[in-house]
Symmetry: C2
Subunit: 105 residues, 2 copies
């Protein structure tokens, strides 16, 4: 579907990418984890609830990551995880390392 | 509206009541907080995303609690708070006290 191509393109062209829903507190938690290391300009958030093609985007995320939940966080083209994984990575230092390796920090 | 009456009735007739959305991780967090002290039979969860009258239920919750977010937790007819407040209350002992005072524990 069109969405799969767009999602792959977004993952490839954004060093730090978050698929999110604007009303979701777990997505806010992932953004706050990133905010410990980055300014908002240094990462991209795609609020999929604002996308009329929401269902195809979620299908694409399911295909790529094995789940269609939000948030979905990608660093340097690689899938990091959801809200829990991102918060854990922020706390244990692995998120910082990923950002340094990605050349963002 | 009809929903306001129903929400007041639910709050009055359930010692422990959670307004939730089934897909929401923050609501899951509130249920897990309650699960530290109660079995699922001891509290009532209303998944408002399964209610065709969702908008009126959220309007009723806005009127009663000042916000239309989920989760909304009520103990013994009194509004406790959302996911953060419930998790905090579980951790600091105040939730247990409320449940004892309510005669649930
Ligand atoms: N443990 C996952 C939870 C992901 C999850 O359950 N996300 C919810 C929102 S909080 C979701 O996308 N539910 C399905 C939906 O909204 O369609 C994480 O850490 O990200
Ligand atoms: N800090 C609040 C957060 C509540 C919140 O933002 N809830 C979100 C879902 S996680 C919500 O209801 N958003 C509006 C909506 O889904 O319509 C709490 O602890 O409960
Ligand atoms: S929708 Fe509530 S935490 Fe995601």
């Amino acid at each position: 579907a069109e969405a799969l191509k767009d999602v792959h393109a977004a993952i490839a062209s954004n060093k730090v990418l978050v698929y999110s829903k604007s009303s979701c507190s777990f997505c806010k938690k992932a953004k706050e984890a990133l905010n410990q290391f980055l300014t908002p300009e240094q990462y991209t958030v795609i609020e999929i609830d604002k996308n009329p093609d929401l269902i195809s985007v979620m299908e694409a995320l399911l295909e790529i990551t094995g789940n269609h939940t939000v948030p979905r966080v990608f660093i340097n083209g690689r899938f990091l995880g959801g809200g829990d994984d991102t918060a854990k990575a922020a706390a244990d230092g692995s998120l910082k390392k990923l950002l340094v390796d990605a050349g963002v920090l």
